[in-house]
Amino acid sequence: MSSNANAQITERFFGHFLADEIDQMMDMQTDDVVWDICDGAAADTVPYFGTWKGREGCLACLEAYDGAADPQVFEIERYLGDGDKGFALGHETVRAKPTDKTFTTDFNFMLTIRDGKVAGLKCYIDSAALITAFAPRSGRR
């Protein structure tokens, strides 16, 4: 276990997420928090990908995740920290509800900590795996 203070904040933050303590999770963030959940080429296909701002934005992201994803496995193996960053490294197996396809991938979360609160969160994940799982099958013409 890391002795870094930001690693410990990151562990508490995800502890609330894993315990479904969403209010406590939100209370650990700054008012102007920004989540970048793999914002990029898959953002139009994966409902919870994109950039989400503020408490309402984060709650909307989590609602999109609940609506689209059925996590079979979500495990974080290590929490680390340095400078103003905290890191969470793990893996997940998820069933995409819209397509019923399942994918397994590693993930990396990087949190920016300001004055003891989470001011930013970035998620790095195999977006091609998710676009495959969430993209609808080609329809018949």
Binding site: S2, S3, A7, L80, G81, K85, I125, A128, A129, T132
Partner: protein, 143 residues
């Protein structure tokens, strides 16, 4: 973090900074010298591995050089920057971004880069890259 652990993290961070500096200078012998003999690169292996020529797992110097050659053959990097480094325990994280033109399709993709390096005795034993694999896959897929 104890003083000894902090010092080791600082050493590890410097090794990874040197690794990327040498890579950008084209000094592949220097790059290899930053790593253990049995190093493993996992360069965004996963769903896009069959499409993007350098997205695979390799071990050792010969395989590493082959991966770099696959990159050189397929990619025309317009931007490649690694400019943030963080270290804790046996891990170093290196953050950057790249913009690449696919030589096979002419399409361009941009992605953030997240390298996670696992260190052993002051050398890189494993390097994992996470990036926007969907963007790379799209750039290497013919319309």
């Amino acid at each position: 973090m104890s003083g000894q652990n902090k010092r080791q993290a600082d050493v590890n961070r410097q090794v990874v900074e040197d690794f990327f500096r040498l890579f950008l200078e084209g000094d592949m012998a220097g790059v290899m010298a930053c790593q253990t003999d049995d190093f493993v690169w996992d360069i965004a292996s996963g769903a896009a591995s069959g499409t993007v020529p350098w997205f695979f797992v390799c071990q050792g110097a010969d395989a590493g050089n082959a991966l770099v050659e696959a990159y050189v053959q397929a990619a025309d990097p317009v931007v490649f920057e690694v400019d943030e480094y963080y270290a804790d325990g046996n891990k170093v994280f290196a953050l950057g971004r790249e913009k690449v033109v696919s030589k096979t399709t002419g399409k361009t993709f941009e992605t953030k880069l997240f390298y996670a390096c696992t260190m052993r005795e002051g050398k890189i034993a494993k390097l994992d890259l996470a990036c926007d694999t969907a963007a790379a896959q799209a750039a290497f897929t013919h319309d």
